[in-house]
Symmetry: D2
Amino acid sequence: MRDVQSELDVRNIPIDRVGISGISYPITVLDKEKGTQETVAIVAMAVALPHEYRGTHMSRFVEALEEFRGRVTPHELEGLTDNLIERLEAIKAEVTFRFPYFIRKNAPVSKLESWSSYDVMFKAEKTRSKFELETEVIAAIQTLCPCSKEISDYGAHNQRAYVRLAVKMKDFIWIEELVSIIEDCASAPTFTLLKREDEKYVTEHAYNNPRFVEDVVREIVLRLETDKRISQFRVTVSSSESIHNHDAFAEVERAYE
Amino acid sequence: MRDVQSELDVRNIPIDRVGISGISYPITVLDKEKGTQETVAIVAMAVALPHEYRGTHMSRFVEALEEFRGRVTPHELEGLTDNLIERLEAIKAEVTFRFPYFIRKNAPVSKLESWSSYDVMFKAEKTRSKFELETEVIAAIQTLCPCSKEISDYGAHNQRAYVRLAVKMKDFIWIEELVSIIEDCASAPTFTLLKREDEKYVTEHAYNNPRFVEDVVREIVLRLETDKRISQFRVTVSSSESIHNHDAFAEVERAYE
Amino acid sequence: MRDVQSELDVRNIPIDRVGISGISYPITVLDKEKGTQETVAIVAMAVALPHEYRGTHMSRFVEALEEFRGRVTPHELEGLTDNLIERLEAIKAEVTFRFPYFIRKNAPVSKLESWSSYDVMFKAEKTRSKFELETEVIAAIQTLCPCSKEISDYGAHNQRAYVRLAVKMKDFIWIEELVSIIEDCASAPTFTLLKREDEKYVTEHAYNNPRFVEDVVREIVLRLETDKRISQFRVTVSSSESIHNHDAFAEVERAYE
Amino acid sequence: MRDVQSELDVRNIPIDRVGISGISYPITVLDKEKGTQETVAIVAMAVALPHEYRGTHMSRFVEALEEFRGRVTPHELEGLTDNLIERLEAIKAEVTFRFPYFIRKNAPVSKLESWSSYDVMFKAEKTRSKFELETEVIAAIQTLCPCSKEISDYGAHNQRAYVRLAVKMKDFIWIEELVSIIEDCASAPTFTLLKREDEKYVTEHAYNNPRFVEDVVREIVLRLETDKRISQFRVTVSSSESIHNHDAFAEVERAYE
């Protein structure tokens, strides 16, 4: 059968990224407490295509994913990008895994345990000379408005907010560490299971720690900028304002060399 | 050209709904203040297909939509379903328009004006003998937790919540009336534009009106059950809990004959 | 601390469903080949609330979910609804688990293996006297248009389509069986991994099996209506038409008793 | 009332973007045929915040949006960013409007008219010295696989694909021009209304113009790279493969000087 993809292309246009996306696949990720954790990822995989080839071979991405057998660790991700570079004769490969990640959390007073869910993304990029890994964590927190607290005789509007923290690492950082940084900077973390004594604690804790989105983003930056393991980061805090039908957000990006 | 759709089908299976969905179309809807309002709808249209036909003629739905020219009123919607019944030789037709609807709202103290957006759906269903119109409004409100207020020394968790109210009408009810019912039953409405004096007012107002999702749904039902124009309703209140990463919800359905 | 939820409510309005939704939780489901499968669910849980109570106790839903420990089988789901009825003194409980489910599938010619993903939902409903379980499977298939094939000198438009099949069962049916019914009725199933020889086979197979959405829905109904294990079903086929920016759909509902 | 936002911040962290997002607002955009077009936008607005201020004044964004009165033209967008810079004493402002845009399109043979919908985004960025406008258009097209056509005895798999084209302009380019470029490079455009003779034409046209995502992206780049009005672009073609439950994609980015 003719191999149309391998034919010579004369348009002289290299393609930055060509591949497949939206593949749902079972994976295993590293878990600080349990060693590993089973979850489900949405996967994208791409290579750079030199100008002279008409197309890439899409089925080889899935073959590489099958060989990889879902072991999502920094080491294995580099192996997967190497495999793609070799298999597809490419100069660059990128793979992205997005998945829910679960951490057991204790309620603050009753100490009852339940699962908290975080949306995590690993993005690995390999060129012939360099491997880069980006980790992104999205965590739900509570923000309580300092202005509303200050100007009101009682109460203060508060709401669920989402923090998206993406870091490029020089050394390994656990998802659990990124989650801790985020939750420490909130008016309060969110919890899945809270009894009445916990709800009292969380309500008062948030009232005692009012935070604008600007405050949350800055507190997170303070913790990141002193961490030698991080070469680059982007933090976005987006608050589902309870007094509005729109969101307030703040974002800081930094790259060190 | 052969008309495959019109061929005899021998599988003896009538189809309840066949048609097209996900069509984005500009429309004009009735506006209580301004007369009419221009907006954009996602449209679905379907007919019941008797067992003897292999298929319907999908292009005729779009032709009916074009003739209709986007005038979304109860009268025109009945005309559209009649058109479909005739054009497609059907015994039943259903059309659904989902669209954002805008109302000018004043901030509670400063009285500054801005647009509030609501998600509205009209669903019209016609059989040979009967026309039924369902209107659904989704509005964002604020809920403040009565339990959190009661047990905490200060503060109370609150959050954005969404009310979905669907009614079947015997007599015409304005979108604006449904929105008013919803907002009157909230701890506080949401606003697009609030100055500091407004934020103080809304914060204190919500603190003075604590409401569980159970309270909001019941307050709305109280207002609906005495309205003679309504033959059927369903109310769902879903609160994006600020202390959790999941929602609390309450739902009541009623049908009168 | 005062228990606000347990206070007497005088509005005289029972609530049909009150509970929590949007909880992301790790679960284990039955797998026809491997025994069990680890995956991740979005969970909703609700009870009916009698008119005399002001509110339900939201934290008890999570406690029940924790005790349940994620074993999603028909037997365990009935236990979970029983637990909710007892724990919340309710007359009715409903729980819903939505999750991706994975099946190993072989390419049709090369026989290469990969994971196919399906969106599955279990909905369990218990009243004091009756337990009902609904299973819903969403599968991606290919549809090839019989009209386009018939009227064109060459080619035929085809596209990805999604089948949503929901059944209420009297006897247990495997997810794998529902998937087989759906895929047998398509112009062709979709595959994650296809080599060139497989792509030739699938292309020709689809061309030899042209199917309107009306055909697919009827072929599925033919298989369901003779299955004694099924008491009720709803099938929706929605095709992402490649010649349009909207979808074509067909739907059949049946209830036997 | 105390102005908490204006207080001195000592954390020494400037914020790259702070503002509001997810605001649904009615707008008017320029239309090549009709002069203007009414539609509905999702709006985001942000400014850069110097390190010494604790917070921005979120309500002033909405006041600027109200004064702007929804006239989304390049000239007015620059006015809006200037207004934000002045009103919020910022050194940089960014505004984003995402909206459906409608173009009347004729079926290829019957010439019947209907609306085609495109997702458009304008992003305007102003610093004290420079104004930049990015326009993004997302259009649905049909792709027919050259490999499938070549290796199969009959038929070829095809599907709906989405092209996302973002350009930074030195001179004004109409949305209609960007749509034309995209549709010219497809196996076939999509249409809302097609009669049988049109469906025959489109089916055969696509079969005669097989295109990988790699081909579509390159054909678009060929047209963009010779257009002097464009200083920067990014093109992504993502194809909802009919033989897979995942997508194939290709992307090219370019920036000149």
